[in-house]
């Protein structure tokens, strides 16, 4: 079979099929390379590739993080960062394999730095791409410790590792019991079985005896974060006879769990997370209403007294007037900080070169931040070490800081009222 192009090539005098094909390839190469030359010539904007789970089971988190990214360019300019950020956001559909291919595509399309992805599994996959391509990767939220234990040179994480998170969370739990004067003797530990959940479970296993916790774990129940029905898990937890539920969850599963607990009339002294998303998110409140009350989560949280946090809050309310800040602030805060760290590094590096940016990121020291904790700095592994946790208790359909005492908005309540004795 003869193609149309080769027919026309044959008709041209003095043009052989070989020269025609060669010219076509050369033309295509020139056409392909030219846009990159134009971009390099401008050299003003830092191309930021943002990878988030904007659909699939973690869609809420991805979309929530995206809000933090969206408010950043204008707010950073207002704060005095003299850099131009060209942001491209992609959705990895809560699928680790897609996260890897999306990261590769972003880098191939010219991204100078990657930000994301609110998921440990995806963070691990993107980190490999970043390291291979020599493009810095700024993790906004992801806790699996191994990500910053591989000796990577281009991976930076402004979020605690699971052991740090769990360690802070368990310590806060002891303070919480002390403050309320009630301590459960037993607990059932329920956790999602994804990368984050398993890293957290290992953290609990390692730290629990070391921290001399005042209660005993009677049973550990792991489950699929994309589960449609958690009735068996809750029946099992209830049958264990535990006085408290210790939960490492995502969002949809935490809603399913509480719903099942109400249906099965399982009324423990309380539900406490040592550090995981779910129970302080907007959708948790809107879906469960009064049953969302009194759940406790020990997580890094924003500092309402910080000047930057107030600016972020203002920008968020202006850009998203229909959303409640409190339901997004955790995701927005860390995502905005990631953009701020990258902008700060670019301003100092004065280059889009991956190595120069990575060196600038490694030398980061930002004193004023959104979240509670010390100055933003990274250790030799690219891991931030100064992020603190707060104990949040859901009260009047909002997460309120109940510990530490210096940031306390309300006094903690424990044991919590029964399902039918709420609001």
């Amino acid at each position: 079979m003869t193609s149309t192009s080769s027919k026309s090539a044959r008709r041209l005098p003095g043009v052989t099929r070989r020269t025609f094909t060669g010219s076509a390839i050369a033309a295509a190469a020139v056409a392909g390379v030219a846009p990159f030359n134009i971009v390099r010539g401008q050299a003003a904007a830092l191309k930021v590739g943002v990878i988030l789970p904007k659909s699939g089971p973690q869609a809420f988190f991805g979309q929530s993080c995206q809000r933090g990214i969206d408010i950043a360019p204008a707010l950073l300019a207002e704060m005095g960062y003299n850099v131009k950020l060209d942001v491209t956001s992609v959705d990895f559909e809560t699928n680790v394999d897609l996260a890897r291919s999306r990261a590769e595509k972003l880098v191939n399309d010219g991204a100078h730095v990657l930000i994301g992805p609110f998921d440990s599994g995806a963070a691990g996959a993107i980190a490999q791409v970043a390291e291979q391509k020599g493009v810095p990767f700024m993790i906004n939220i992801a806790a699996a410790p191994q990500i910053t234990e591989q000796g990577y040179k281009y991976v930076f994480r402004n979020f605690p590792t699971a052991p740090m998170l769990i360690g802070n969370g368990l310590s806060l739990m002891k303070e919480f019991f002390k403050a309320t004067g009630a301590t459960p003797k037993t607990a059932v530990f329920m956790h999602v079985n994804d990368t984050f959940g398993q890293a957290s479970a290992r953290g609990v296993e390692a730290l629990f005896p070391r921290l001399d916790m005042p209660f005993k774990i009677l049973e550990t129940i792991s489950y699929d974060p994309a589960a449609r029905d958690l009735s068996v898990e809750v029946a099992k937890a209830k049958a264990s006879g535990a006085e408290m539920v210790m939960l490492v969850s995502r969002l949809n599963d935490s809603i399913l769990l509480v719903r099942e607990m109400v249906k099965q009339r399982f009324e423990p002294m309380g539900i406490i997370s040592p550090g995981s998303p779910g129970m302080y998110e907007e959708q948790f409140f809107t879906t469960l209403g009064k049953f969302s009350e009194y759940c406790v989560t020990n997580v890094p949280w924003y500092n309402p007294k910080s000047e930057i946090a107030q600016k972020v809050a203002g920008a968020f309310r202006k850009q998203f007037p229909n959303d409640r800040l409190i339901g997004h602030i955790f995701n927005v805060g860390f995502s905005f900080e990631s953009m701020m760290i990258v902008a700060d590094a670019y301003q100092r590096a004065k280059s889009t070169n991956g190595q120069a940016l990575a060196e600038a990121l490694r030398a980061t020291k930002i004193d004023k931040r959104v979240m509670i904790g010390g100055a933003i700095q990274f250790n030799e592994k690219g891991q931030a070490t100064t992020i603190a946790s707060a104990a949040l208790q859901n009260r009047n359909l909002e997460p309120k800081v109940v510990l530490p005492a210096e940031a306390q908005e309300l006094k903690p309540v424990f044991p919590v009222p029964g399902w039918n004795n709420r609001g």
Binding site: Q63, A235, K236, I255, K263, R265
Partner: protein, 289 residues
Amino acid sequence: MPIELYLNVALGGVLTGLVYGLMALGLSVIFGVVRVVNFAHGEMMTLAMYAAVMLFVYFKLDPLLLMLPIMAALFLFGYAMQTAVINPFITRPEHSQFILLVAIAIIMINSLLMFFGPNARNVLVDYAYDSYQIGPILLDKVRVIAALAALAVAAALFAFFRYAPTGKAIRACADNNRGALVVGLNVKRLYALTFGLGSACVGAAGCMMVLLVDVTPMLGPTYTLLAFVIVIVGGLGSMGGALLGGLLVGVSEALAGLVLTPSAKSMVTFALLILVLLLRPQGLLGRKA
């Protein structure tokens, strides 16, 4: 573990299994008569779930009250789809039909994503958190109602195929297609009616399922796969088999979560599938080819 726990979990599995069975019944009916595998089955259920959610949000209508109108809408949808899109493919190779229905499923998922976004949506009826206590047994009210409704719809479908003249004609088509043509039955119309009935079944299942699980556009493929497993376990084309398969999958999922680990629920479902394929390839109530 106390025996009440096993009983509670097994009964929960039975109730969920009945809804699964109704969902798979639609797939089985369509395959049994039209000989087309509906790869958009779960997506059609998702469509029904979204219809129930939207009507609940805007008009505060209970999904159980919406069951008949949604079944009617899905019937029309299925009838139109069979007449306009699938009938021309009936005589084509199976892989063409396969690709056509997968394409329809993908279009449905992405249309739902465009209209409703990726967030999970649910229906919170007044009795969403209620349960019945009978001695040590605690039954979720929503599950009980959904299972009873599934039984009622399945019984109506059985009665239609057994006693109604059109039902008998459809069965004749399934048993002997050429014979049906010879005696002058309008086979293409009967195919469309069957696809409509299968779609109505899945519409009813969607109205019940939305009371049990939150709906997202990506839910469809999971339930398509589940319906396939149930229909293969029960026997392709067998209506009773679909219900039995649903019950078996519901109970085995529940008990596996209790006895083994909750993470192993799906694994046990697929182990059941492999076991049936090895020991009785035609399914539990299926006829040998």
